[in-house]
Amino acid sequence: MTDRYKYMEDLLNRFFSGETSNEEERELYRFFAGEDIPAHLRRYKPVFSYFESGLEKELNLLTGEPAEAAEPFRRAMPKRRIRIAAGMAALALILSVAALLFLRKANAFDPYEGSYIVRSGVRITDTSLIRPEIEATIQKALQQEERANRLLLSLSASNPETRIEQIQRRINRQNEEIINRFPNEMKESIRRIIENK
């Protein structure tokens, strides 16, 4: 190791005398760029750091060339990639939120949507608030209808309506619909005509 340090000291003296070749100077730069530098040579480390990079930058500034022309390109690439990645992440986030909202809406399907109650003239449309009333109304109405259906069945069993009676009822219904199309003062005349009186 001592021989190497002596060689470096010799090289250093020749460098300051301006006698070193390019290869020898590169050897010096490599040596001072490393960590294994003896204490008495460490003071030259900043000098060679300057010769290696600072001087080149100053020369480039003097000649008007951009310092380390390739570096901006190398640095720009990661930034661009970061921007693209950030954009993709934002897009993924927006899509996820939209999907979440859509799923929540689909899952939150309210079968009673559009239902409402009116109490003392106040209309309440929030189905989550009026759900007990909604369910009570359904129960009550279905019970009423069931009772009526049972009665209808028992009535039709004891007194079945003939097919002719059913047809006659439908004709009467259609006639009434026609009569109702006319003004009140004409209804009686139309009824007499239809019933052939």
Partner: protein, 133 residues
Amino acid sequence: MKTRHLIAAAILLITGSLSANLPAQETLKALVKKCESMDNVNTSVVRNRNKQTKKLEKEIISLNFSNNQALVNEFIAAFEKDKLMADKEIEGKNNGKKTLFYRFGDTSYSFSQLNEGSASVSVIQKDEYEYEE
């Protein structure tokens, strides 16, 4: 054939085509609509949709009112007026209180007189009604 019959036939043909979609229960329907905007009538309108198809399956309108004998009479008169158009009807009376049930196609109307001036009315409209013939 008398001219009068020919005119009648023409009128029937023209108006028959126009009246095809007329509601059979127009008096009752109008009265229920009127009640929905009355402050002293408790109204519940329930729209029930199918969970799978999300289609409206049933609409139930329930009206309750008290201290309004005029409205009770109005309902009884409306039922009477639309009676002829009903497919099925049941009329009952218990202790002087009237109970009515009329069915018009896919819609049924129930009326129960509770006390003096009090009554309960239900209208059920189904998307597809199963007829019992």
